[in-house]
């Protein structure tokens, strides 16, 4: 027989397991990895989490809604390339200038969000309106959008981003790069939206049981459509940040980030079956992955180990998820 207090403790631990994992990993790395324990490294971890983190927000929302979006990486690349082409002064950049100069920030951001939203809308249209399989539709987008990046760039790169945009990549607030603050803000805002607004709660309900949600009067199709558009726009934001970080764009920018984003979402406790998951957990998952990448960089281990560890971590996360379910049933 367990007391309500014991049960609450167990529930708390289970709900925040990924944060405990992150804490353990950070402590272990701080003790065993030379040069790891310093503010600069922690700032780097947070900074490196920015792009995959932002991308993972949109991906998590679609997965919680019971679908899948494989296109986020390519959408980010397209948005980065368009930002690069418009606002870079070298390579294939056309060096667009605006008056007053600060306008470059909102204008480029809006363009990136719009590019992402358009691709998201297309995904939503095929999945929701034409009832096509989300996996296939977004896989197709993953391919054709990357193809579009190569086509519009001709395989070339854009570099030397407008200094007013680069400012965001260079400026630090409390030792943490401004870009990372943008990612943190995104997590805070979308965590609030997902947990405290009807939109978020309905998305979770739809992911859990779309038929029940429909019978309860929730506009299932409309909300799912919005989740695809959101995922696209957020991926556009990730691309915008990526262009700022690398001061331009190359045709292969962001390659491989989809799998990291997926890993972070799964490690963060989002169920691939839909209806379960919280965005703070996803952020912890991203930080965990980023910590491992950084530790491997510092240890000088061959990078292949990163992939091995990543794969094992995802497997462990899924196992833990199953275990969590069993523990919950035992305490129920």
């Amino acid at each position: 027989m367990t007391s309500p207090r014991q049960r609450a403790t167990v529930e708390f631990i289970l709900d925040h397991l990924v944060w405990f994992m992150l804490a353990v990993v950070l402590i272990a790395f701080s003790i065993f990895v030379p040069n790891f324990f310093q503010i600069g490294i922690f700032a780097n971890i947070i900074e490196a989490s920015t792009f995959v983190g932002v991308m993972a927000i949109g991906l998590a929302i679609v997965i919680i809604a019971g679908h899948m979006d494989l296109s986020v990486e390519s959408v980010a690349a397209l948005s980065a390339m368009i930002t690069g082409i418009l606002f870079c002064s070298h390579g294939i950049g056309i060096g667009l200038t605006l008056t007053p100069e600060w306008l470059v920030v909102p204008v480029s951001l809006l363009i990136s969000l719009a590019v992402g939203a358009v691709i998201g809308w297309l995904n939503g249209f095929f999945v929701i309106k034409l009832k096509m399989n989300a996996f296939i539709v977004t896989l197709a987008s993953y391919i054709w959008v990357r193809g579009l990046v190569v086509a519009i760039s001709g395989g070339r790169s854009a570099q030397d981003l407008d200094p007013d945009l680069r400012f965001i990549g260079i400026q630090q607030v409390l030792y943490i790069p401004l870009m990372a603050w943008i990612a943190i803000l995104c997590f805070v805002v979308f965590s609030f939206i997902m947990s405290r607004t009807p939109f978020g709660r309905h998305i979770t309900l739809i992911g859990g049981n779309a038929v029940a949600a429909f019978r309860a009067g929730i506009k299932v199709d409309r909300l799912m459509f919005i989740s695809f558009i959101l995922a696209g726009a957020i991926a556009g934001l990730a691309g915008w940040l990526l262009a700022i970080r690398t001061s331009g764009a190359t045709a292969n920018l962001g390659t491989g980030m989809l799998f990291n984003a997926f890993a972070a979402v799964v490690i963060g406790g989002v169920s691939l079956k839909g209806g379960v998951g919280k965005l703070p957990g996803v952020y912890a998952g991203v930080l965990l992955l980023s910590s491992i990448h950084t530790a491997i960089n510092l240890m000088g281990l061959p990078a292949h180990y990163t992939q091995v560890i990543l794969g094992l971590l995802v497997l462990a996360a899924v196992l833990l998820d199953t275990l969590k379910l069993q523990i919950r049933q035992r305490f129920a």
Partner: protein, 348 residues
């Protein structure tokens, strides 16, 4: 009706041009397929343009097939191409070893195979045109030796080497060449880390981490110019100014040349793309007609190149150049994207 007449007139004019205009005569000798490993980097993209232009000069039409850096895709493309019986195949292999059996297969079908840029020594081919990836590492090593000596008084210091994808033999060869050269200098500490999938932000993260863990890094050597851009972005984000940390890169892409002009990069080790492509065009007739290629010295776009007979066949090696602030604007560097306008003349 008038519109139809105009369309027909235009069509006839176009057809007449295609017969009489010499520009349309390019490709009259047949098709050569170029197996390009990827179009995601500027060297490869420009190689398609250069080969198309130079082979066109000597009468061949180039059809480029992109393997997206996937070995299995390139293998399938080789199979498909062999069935089309082109005059020759130009191969820049994704994986040096995995493509060797396909070279044998093409040659057994009577299709000559020319190797571009990525040397394959495990099986015979009909002509190889390379700068030599190991040699690029050697040139980089020589340059870095000089830079460290100039900075520290002797060849010592800490070098961060950022490789490309660790599954790509191209980057491993450069690493091999570079480390062979640096082996003579025990006071040089080399930290080597790969940027997975040649992705720029991965290189940026490596540089950011290492600048914190090893603030005394003297020089960063990246294996591709597009990675240098991300490295510079990370240096800038850490408050560094041009020249604070020396930077060397390889392949000679336009982005690298721009970084030299801005003072961020010290040396770019160029792969002589135009000359490598021109060499294949110069000998294309001999390869297609299965004539003997004589060893010796040849001038390829003004570069002194050496043709030797190796166990894998005729091999022309064109020297890679070190690009610095002093010579960065010379049009011979492909990074300046000024392809030679003069027609290539076939070697008789």
């Amino acid at each position: 009706m008038n519109r139809l007449r105009r369309f027909l007139t235009a069509s006839i004019a176009m057809a007449a041009m295609s017969v009489f205009n010499p520009a349309y005569a390019d490709g009259s000798k047949g098709k050569i397929f170029y197996m390009v490993p990827t179009l995601l980097d500027e060297f490869q993209t420009e190689s398609v343009s250069a080969l198309t232009k130079f082979m066109g000069d000597v009468g061949y039409e180039v059809v480029a097939l992109n393997a997206d850096n996937k070995t299995d895709v390139q293998q399938s493309q080789m199979d498909d191409t062999i069935l089309q019986k082109p005059k020759a195949i130009i191969l820049a292999a994704v994986d040096f070893n995995a493509l060797a059996p396909y070279i044998d297969k093409a040659r057994a079908a009577g299709i000559p195979v020319m190797i571009f840029d990525r040397q394959i020594t495990s099986t015979p081919s009909d002509l190889t045109s390379v700068a030599g990836t190991v040699e690029i590492g050697h040139v980089a090593g020589d340059q870095i030796e000089g830079l460290l000596k100039a900075k520290n008084g002797s060849v010592k210091g800490k070098v961060l080497q950022v490789l490309g994808d660790p599954s790509d033999p191209y980057t491993l060869d450069i690493q091999k060449g570079f480390e062979e050269k640096m082996a003579a200098f025990p006071d040089v500490k080399i930290i080597s880390l790969p940027a997975m999938q040649w992705e720029a932000s991965n290189a940026g993260t490596i540089v950011s981490d290492q600048l914190v863990a090893n603030p005394d890094i003297d020089l960063i050597f990246v294996h591709a110019a597009h990675l240098a851009v991300a490295a510079v972005a990370s240096l800038e984000a850490k408050g560094k100014k041009p020249g604070d940390v020396m930077l060397v890169s390889s392949n000679g892409a336009p982005v690298g040349l721009d970084l030299i002009r801005k003072g961020w990069e010290n040396v770019e080790v160029e792969q002589p793309l135009y000359a490598q492509a021109a060499a294949l065009a110069m000998f294309a007739d001999k390869v297609v007609n299965k004539e003997e290629i004589k060893p010796g010295n040849y001038s390829v776009l003004g570069l002194d190149s050496v043709m030797t007979n190796e166990k894998w066949g005729p091999n022309i090696k064109i020297p890679g150049a070190a690009i610095t602030k002093e010579n960065v604007d010379e049009p011979r560097f492909w990074g300046n994207l000024k392809a030679p306008a003069d027609k290539i003349t076939p070697v008789q």
